[in-house]
Symmetry: C2
Subunit: 349 residues, 2 copies
């Protein structure tokens, strides 16, 4: 391709993106705006990005020589099988850095506490934060504490910001047709654990959150695939489906996912069926999706499997239809796996 | 002083600090833990710092080559004369970097929104954030949005993290006896404006928040005093009194403040008297206290006055009694200006 035709193509992509910028027209905020699906995207692309002059809508932004990422945590309940809000706050932020190809270095911690919060609950979260930070090898360098009156803030809300150093092995880029889609393990555990912990359903099942630092997985992927690693995303709010849709749109490519190859724990699958939710839309807090050029996909998958034997190749990037994700079902059919609309699982992280 | 006696002295200071580390013994969180006074300090020094292995309790922490600082904002009401929560979130974080001697470069923005929040209110804050960021010359590099159910979060809470580059002119150090205490302008405006805006008092007065970026003031101070500038603090929650107490403790020095030299707007003084609050404890959002070696104090003050003609020298660092702040009153007496106990002005920022 000549330079000028390449430039034309890039301009074409920018035009398409401009034309497709959603407009934020809602009159009030709804739970759906926090769900990580279509409403969140409209809020970000239609209101925040133009106002703040953001050209890059990734979770991580460059500030001088470092990458920074920020997240707030409003999960309910504060503790659940497999983790707690404090552990989530550390790992969530560390993972946003990791999938941006940056080695996590430090985090900051802002706490909004509710008047009347038991000191024992606070102490337990402080301990969980400290333990998770040590495990993820990040230093907590500064913090802030605010207190709001009883009845607000559900005990506590946390906001963490991560600072990381871009890893020279990471040369992340746009997706290309033919890229393989890899998943680092089984899906849906975090969201299912939270739903069950709320006790709103007459359902008991032994499901624990998968919250953990993804840096070791990223580190292994960078070693195995280096410049052939195109992109990574941690599949949190909105699950794997949302991550795939976001990237299909951003790169104007199609994706085809083989449903049978997606690892789902039978207990999670059972709970999701009863709750009427597709596990592909359920939040994870320790799983990533990686896009790897075909020539290095097997090595990348082997590296992921050395960390989690349930890692799997789940699909492929195609050319058409652009910006769409298709699923090949277990029955041989095909359907569109669309963006999440509404919020089936609020306050999940 | 010989090296060994200097070392002994430093060890002595560390011992003192250790011996004086407060223990966090409260059974539940109260509004006072968020007020920036004695209870906040006990929470930080007694619980957070030991758990997180923090040796430096400044508002800014080093992460690689940059300084980072974080803050959350829960001010009520969201808009008030002179500013709004969005403007405060940008300036507050920029100012924490500035007084640490770092040029503000970028900020991150985490928003916790209440279900049902009017889009017009959100739009206005997004605009306020964008405008304040442009004025402070910082880029908003990344963000996050969560939504919580109606009745929580008072419309919105914000958490901002700032990334700054240490300015080579800044060689901040411990305070020494003889250092002059400079104040960048009149005090108490932000806290008073918020209290009046709440309408809880039968009192109307024309007071606007002083929220603004302090980097221009810091820049001028660094030019004028360079290595003679010992320390700076922005006098937010807990006001000038809290900042002086914190530094007197940290450096184990005494401070004497001449009450008559502290600039207070007559309207603020009048409102504070009716509310029964000393303006020295009232929050500012655009004022700093600077400590400058005596030989460069006049130049530093002149530089501050070129930005705000009400800047003033308000006192001096002394040796005894260590860790105490004394006020010389307008009537020639002396009293202790102690740490804030309780929270006379909750949800001020």
């Amino acid at each position: 391709m000549s330079v000028s035709s390449r430039e034309e193509r890039i301009l074409g992509i920018i035009e398409t993106a401009r034309a497709k910028r959603p407009r934020f027209k809602d009159t009030a905020i709804t739970m759906a705006h926090g769900a990580g699906g279509k409403a969140t995207q409209t809020l970000i692309e239609g209101l925040f990005a133009p106002a703040f002059g953001m050209t890059d809508l990734d979770d991580a932004g460059a500030a001088g020589d470092v990458l920074v990422t920020t997240d707030s945590f409003v999960v309910k309940p504060l503790r659940f099988p497999g983790g707690s809000i404090g552990e989530l706050a550390v790992n969530g932020t560390v993972n946003d850095l990791a999938v941006a190809g940056a080695r996590p270095l430090a985090i900051t911690l802002a706490m909004i506490l509710e008047e009347g919060l038991s000191s024992d609950v606070l102490r337990a979260e402080v301990e969980a934060i400290a333990t998770a930070a040590r495990a993820a090898e990040v230093e907590i360098v500064t913090g802030d504490t605010k207190v709001v009156e009883r009845g607000h803030a559900d005990g506590m809300y946390l906001a963490t910001t991560g600072v990381g150093v871009p890893d020279p092995r990471a040369q992340l880029t746009r997706l290309r047709p033919g890229d393989r889609i890899l998943l680092s393990g089984s899906i849906g555990e975090h969201g299912t654990a939270i739903m069950l912990a709320r006790g709103e359903f007459e359902l008991e099942a032994d499901v624990a959150s998968d919250t953990k630092s993804l840096w070791p997985t990223v580190d292994a992927l960078l070693d195995a695939a280096g410049p052939h690693l195109r992109a990574m995303r941690d599949a949190t709010r909105g699950g794997v489906a949302s991550v795939l849709n976001e990237l299909a749109r951003a790169s104007q490519v199609a994706m085809v996912v083989d449903e049978r190859s997606v690892p789902v724990d039978p207990v999670v699958a059972g709970a999701a069926e009863i709750l009427g939710i597709d596990p592909m839309y359920v939040a994870n807090e320790g799983k990533l999706v990686a896009f790897v050029a075909p020539e290095q996909a097997d090595q990348a998958l082997a590296a992921m499997r050395a960390i989690d034997p349930r890692a799997a190749e789940i699909g492929e990037v195609r050319t058409d239809p652009p910006a769409m994700v298709l699923v090949e079902t277990a029955f041989g059919g095909r359907r569109v796996m669309d963006q999440l609309v509404g919020d089936p699982l609020p306050r999940i992280c």
